[in-house]
Amino acid sequence: MRHIISVLLENEPGALSRVVGLFSQRNYNIESLTVAPTEDGTLSRLTVTTVGSDKVIEQITKQLNKLIEVVKLVDLTEGAHVERELLLIKVRASGAQRAEIKRTADVFRAQIIDMTPSVYTIQVVGTSDKLDAFIQAIGNTSVLEVVRSGVSGIARGEKILGL
């Protein structure tokens, strides 16, 4: 099953490499990974999406917790949560296609953030599924370039992951 593990990490050189190294060392999957400093400059927040059996996910969280630089972590998929991913996609857009792509973008509440006479650059925000659906809707032939941010997530309601 797919899990989103959110990690508070000491914002120190080498900390990220330990997290990534752990996944390859122990043969765990990384589907996506995002990391950036938080409002507290000493901490980074890292979100990793991974796939594995309950036993594997339990080991992943335990092994992550063993890393000295990991301050706290939570498996967001264990509770109600919100997840978002950002997609930047560059598509060929000329002639009649331009209007069609614009309409598709509107349906997905996507935004055209840059354009030339023959190219649109579109931004889509949503769950990973929504991003997949948008790429499918646009159709492969016109896609020139795809950049995805990887998933960020946060628990719903009062629950927080903090010090």
């Binding site: 000491e10 080498g14 330990r18 190294g21 036993k55 339990e58 335990k62 917790n65 063993k66 000295i68």
Partner: protein
């Protein structure tokens, strides 16, 4: 406040940490640190002949003393030569601090002479690692390194020290912190009381219980508590390879080591038990055999300081995360204060069964024929050293024979590379122990293959007068490899022969030590007596043993714990 250079701070911090010996090898990037060492006398340095040996010396000391061993090496090849030793310590949770000099910080990343990213190289095999970015941080980093290495589940910590952090003319205020605070690190200090109660209730209900004790009991200094609990409950006890000595081997309740080359009775007891109380053990693949067939009727209580060890391979019923000594103390209080007690009748019939298994096999081997059997060599060693030596081993058949036939009654006496299986570990480990415990007998049980992997340390032994004893079970082959080839490859002995063995006698003598060669059983005991009587000399005992001998029992691959070969012809 005192002003010290980075190099001086480093050595002073070691001294403030109570370090007496460090093991190492100098080189360009480490020269400021070596100069700081030279200008003081609190911290003594042992010069090895290869950095790997420095790590094993520190490791041997750490396992025997229960405190972190310290290694100092230069950058690049000095640092990479420690990798096997760090991995060895990591796999067996041995506290160790490895100080690696590094090229000056302004050269890092430029592929400078003797530059290696040792933090990156060692990342998967350390508990933690740190780089010095500013000389003023040195005391705090050293304090942290020792704290991390020795607390919780112990392990090796690497500290990377660029040369410009140790410049002799740049001085900083020195004070050694009395403690460290790490917001992201807090090993459990106490087991969950509810879980401990649950475990005790299960013990009272069990009809066929067994205590399965691992290296964590020794690392956690909980042998006394384990022994007391076993005695009160009157249950059978088995130790893992790493746990030998955690429970006294000569005690009636002891059923021997379990696992791949464990005793028949230990493996049978485990397989047929209805409750396994695992203490500081990790259900590793050399213990469980096929986990799908592991102890089908047993409920499992697992006490361990490391939550990641719990349900990693075998799913357990009652996990208890905490220091083993504290958890066992709490269990003891509950057991002693309980109105219930363990089911006596069930226990009587359980013991009848266990004793039957003991009587059926025990430890036996065929001692006919012209050769000395390796088992006889270990039994004689046990007799001559009165069972009280520190025994280190290398890796292979001799290691298994030593673990099976030397009966360890005390913890910290059996020193071997159980997890990583590092050939070349035994001699330097023995040296580290002898240096720190000069009044005790220290013997390295080895074979021709392993011994030659760190043979250069005979020179270090001469320099520092380390009169260790070396028992070479000479079967003129890589015995364990050959055994597997006999069993699984129709005796095609691909590269398992040491086709040109050196003349060990001449070799040992060239290094300035004493060598004895034993070919007849009749001479074995007197030769060992003679060797151990030479208190001030390193003596190498080259004992020619049966080259065709195999280690048994041996679990059958993909089977359960009870599926064993008991000899070349018998199977369970």
């Amino acid at each position: 406040m005192e002003l010290l250079s980075g190099g001086d701070m480093l050595i002073r911090a070691l001294s403030d940490e109570g370090v007496e010996y460090i093991y190492g090898y100098p080189g360009g990037a480490a020269l400021h640190i070596y100069d700081a060492l030279y200008r003081q006398s609190d911290v003594k340095h042992v010069l090895v002949r290869h950095e790997q040996a420095a790590t094993h010396m520190a490791d041997g000391y750490a396992r025997a003393a229960g405190k972190a061993g310290v290694v100092l090496v230069t950058s690049g090849p000095g640092a990479t030569n420690t990798v096997t030793g760090i991995a060895t310590a990591y796999m067996d949770s041995v506290p160790m601090v490895v100080l690696c000099a590094q090229v000056p910080s302004y050269l890092i990343g430029e592929d400078a002479f003797q530059e290696t990213d040792i933090i990156g190289v060692s990342r998967p095999i350390v508990k933690h690692s740190m780089s010095v970015k500013n000389p003023e941080e040195i005391p705090e980093i050293i304090k942290k390194a020792f704290f991390l290495a020795q607390s919780g589940r112990p392990g090796p910590v690497v500290v990377d020290i660029p040369k410009d952090m140790t410049l002799p003319n740049e001085r900083y205020e020195y004070s050694y912190p009395s403690k460290v605070k790490l917001r992201s690190y807090g090993p459990a200090t106490k087991g969950h009381t509810g879980q401990i109660k649950k475990a005790v209730d299960m013990i009272f209900e069990a009809k066929r219980p067994v205590l399965y004790a691992g290296g964590g009991v020794i690392l956690g200094k909980a042998s006394d508590q384990l022994t007391e609990l076993a005695k009160i409950l009157d249950v059978p006890v088995t130790n893992t390879l790493m746990g030998l000595g955690a429970y006294p081997a000569t005690d009636r309740q002891y059923v021997g080591m379990l696992g791949m080359h464990g005793t028949y009775e230990a493996n049978m007891t485990m397989h047929h038990s209805d409750l396994i109380i695992a203490v500081g053990a990790r259900f590793d693949d050399r213990v469980t055999n096929n986990t799908a067939k592991f102890c089908p009727n047993a409920k499992i209580v697992h006490i361990d300081i490391d939550p990641a060890s719990i349900s990693k391979t075998v799913t357990v019923d009652v996990p208890i995360v905490g220091p083993v000594d504290q958890v066992l103390n709490e269990m003891l209080d509950l057991v002693k204060g309980a109105k219930k007690e363990i089911e006596k009748e069930a226990l009587v019939s359980w013991w009848r069964q266990v004793d039957e298994w003991k009587a059926y096999h025990g430890m036996r081997y065929n001692s006919d024929g012209e050769f000395i059997k390796p088992q006889q060599a270990i039994e004689t060693l046990y007799k001559v050293t009165k069972g009280d030596a520190y025994v280190t081993s290398d890796v292979g058949q001799h290691q298994m024979f030593a673990s099976q036939y030397y009966k360890f009654d005390k913890p910290n006496r059996w020193i071997n590379s159980g997890g990583l299986g590092t050939m070349g570990f035994g001699l330097p480990a023995a040296m580290g122990i002898k240096l720190n415990f000069p009044d005790n007998d220290v013997v390295c049980v080895t074979g021709e293959g392993s011994f030659q992997m760190n043979i250069q340390e005979l020179s270090t032994c001469k320099q520092y007068n380390l009169p260790v004893k070396i028992l070479n079970l000479n079967n003129q082959a890589l015995g364990m490899v050959k055994q597997w080839q006999d069993l699984n490859y129709e005796a095609r002995h691909a590269h398992s022969y040491m086709e040109s063995l050196p003349d060990f006698q001449k070799l040992i003598e060239a290094y300035g030590h004493v060598a004895l060669r034993v070919e007849k059983l009749a001479d074995l005991e007197s030769a060992m007596e003679e060797a151990f009587a030479m208190k001030d000399r390193l003596v190498f005992m080259d004992v020619m043993v049966d080259p065709s001998e195999h280690v048994y029992p041996m679990q059958v691959p993909t089977g359960s714990m009870r599926d064993m070969m008991l000899s070349k012809t018998e199977r369970t």
